[in-house]
Symmetry: C3
Subunit: 297 residues, 3 copies
């Protein structure tokens, strides 16, 4: 009952992020149909002269964070992290209207516990790598960024979002009947404080850019066509900061939060797997997927 | 000396929350004279069709949190919590101009250590039940809400206050020479952050509605006659959220704070009893009570 | 490379805090040349009738926190703390345009590990004494207040800053290639929250008064010639609060932060000494000092 109402609520939220009559998030089912598993899901361009890499998520249609996607992302991050010539990373999307729609629901629906565990470990890995990166990381949020997409942006040192009221951002897991784990919560609380995190997570709120700026979920709004150029300019400033001191400072700020997951990875995987494989949760996901199908049908 | 000055300060604060020439808080002495111990202090109306209960505090004149009041409140909460048909709770006041004046000073003045300990245990119990409630809880703050009254509202998921500048809200214990315990402090810090909590508690600040909204102590202001209806509308939205996910999320946000008291209840009772039964504190309370008498005389 | 760029960045920041064509912070080299080690660096006036002491930092040119300065400060603080007649402390500067330029770089450059350790212990001691003071402490920030100068003001109960856009305040250590330790970080986070602290420390940001007010780094801006009088008026209000309750409350708010350093002083000294005596850090400091010389040349 509550779920159905929630889905209705969510649908109206989704439609508010529709552009040109087309739902932009999160038709993750489409992923299955359209994605070519052979083409790279991540494109990285490193400018050797500036030491700045631009990472473009290009997994149609909505950059869902599938296991394949996460694996590719982690490999890319590891390479950049070890490359002395790379000091800054800008993360953005090649897909229209969406930064990333978040975790791929198909990875959580009808899968074996083993596979679910493997998937969750990859989500953890991505977060650990991003949140603890020695590079300066800037999110150039050029579209909607719900759930896991929001998490990716929250791991960055700075967030610039396109000032388009059709876009939204937030950890809206609760709206789908699932729960953001403690390290999603910690990352958000480190950004917007305890009270906004409580409201945001309990209600699964999606914020438009102006609201997100107001509570500090993003740092800056710019016109849609200036997101990447502003990120590049901002990066230039950040790279003037003495690197060693900046890195130690970043680690000091984030280590306690990172340690909490590092010392609890297995328990966290276990929690996720037992929750997501529950009949009631699987039923919720099925209803959600069927609703998406109908809407597209 | 300092106390006398403080009381003067407090008197002027109180007069700023006077309506129609009558002091509205906290003549808790009156409680003793007017209260009928047989009439219920709490009135609960549960709408079975919506699953929403409205709890009206109706202990004249100012809903002081006496031991009897707290006992009744806890019993009501327990019943609602166990009632599967009740999913949301709105807490409001039947008394004019006051939500609740907070802890009943008469329970702390001239009482035996045993009785003080019993009283404090009931205060703890109320907080534990409210702050950890599985229900959606909304405070419909239709009057002034100092000290323990503020605490009640802070335990809720959402706070709507009457936009009447004569009303005030805050944890003003310090002004009376007593100290808000660590779990009052934690509850406030979870709502308005560390710095505002430090200022608020050190100075025993009472905020008018606009100030309270600004620092996030309340979430929304509405005209006085729309407090309850707005609470009801807000509740409807909250109840569309998938319940299980919302409850787990709420617990994740609040469990560390709750655990701190749960694992320290006896020590906290002991601290309170030794503090409140000190001669100097009892003297402060007597001066305060005499001052209230004179004002009314 | 990064450092040089950082220094350029810093120079432009510095010039933005130049008044009448003269750099106001932080020509700490000058300290060496002009300071008379015999004249007192701290002047304390205690008004017995009000119980309020005004502490003036008067170590030309910029109140650098040298070992001598810190020692004198700590002795003064201890005397005031033990004086029952002193209940409030206002900290301000006798130097034009600067509150305090922060830690004296000469104490960190070319010094033996033993001497560096002695210096750092004095910095710890100052912070411990100020942050845990039983007195009401108010910072009357009548000039720029970078790094350690900002820290001094952050330890106070209330911060009033001169509304002069040429003045700046912030923990800008990173800009110099050094790192604010965890207790500087904790003090700032307790004031402006986690996210602003992360940004402020990673970038070594200096804020103008309006910006500092906006994020809560200071509590109030007043015209330059009213800083001290406003501090005195504010103190009068704070001293009306029942003292014992206020002190217990302040301790409750700050004890966890203080305990973190108290139980880690030796390790913290060791960390500082091994960091600051590194060749690379000494080289950074030398470049910085030479740059200051040239600018003045």
């Amino acid at each position: 009952m509550a779920l159905r109402a929630a889905l209705r609520g969510r649908l109206s939220q989704l439609s508010s992020c529709t552009g040109h009559g087309r739902v932009c998030v999160p038709p993750t089912l489409l992923t299955q149909q359209r994605n070519s598993s052979t083409s790279p899901k991540i494109k990285v361009d490193l400018d050797q002269s500036t030491g700045v890499a631009v990472m473009r998520m290009q997994s149609p249609p909505v950059n869902s964070l599938s296991l394949d996607f996460l694996t590719e992302l982690c490999i890319s991050l590891e390479k950049l992290e070890m490359d002395k010539g790379c000091r800054g990373l800008i993360i953005t999307s090649s897909q229209p209207k969406v930064f990333s729609a978040g975790l791929d629901i198909m990875e959580m629906y009808g899968k074996s516990p083993e596979r679910c565990g493997e998937f969750w470990k990859a989500v953890q890995e991505m977060w650990l790598k991003l949140y603890s990166s020695n590079m300066v990381t800037i999110a150039a949020i050029n579209g909607s960024s719900p759930a896991g997409g929001c998490l990716v942006s929250l791991t960055c040192d700075y967030r610039i979002m396109a000032d388009n009221p059709r876009f939204s951002i937030g950890l809206n897991e609760t709206q789908l009947g699932i729960v953001a784990p403690f390290w999603f919560k910690d990352t958000l609380a480190n950004t917007v404080g305890h009270r906004h995190t409580e409201m945001a997570l309990e209600l699964g709120l999606l914020y438009n850019p102006a609201e997100a700026l107001k509570i500090g979920m993003v740092d800056q709004l710019v016109p849609e066509d200036q997101v990447l150029s502003t990120a590049t300019e901002t990066m230039t400033k950040w790279l003037t900061i003495p690197e060693h001191a900046r890195q130690i400072t970043k680690s000091m700020m984030r280590k306690p939060t990172i340690d909490k997951l590092t010392s609890n990875r297995d328990a966290d995987i276990h929690n996720f797997v037992s929750f997501i494989t529950k009949d009631s949760i699987q039923k919720s996901l099925r209803m959600y997927l069927e609703m998406l199908k109908k809407r597209r049908g």
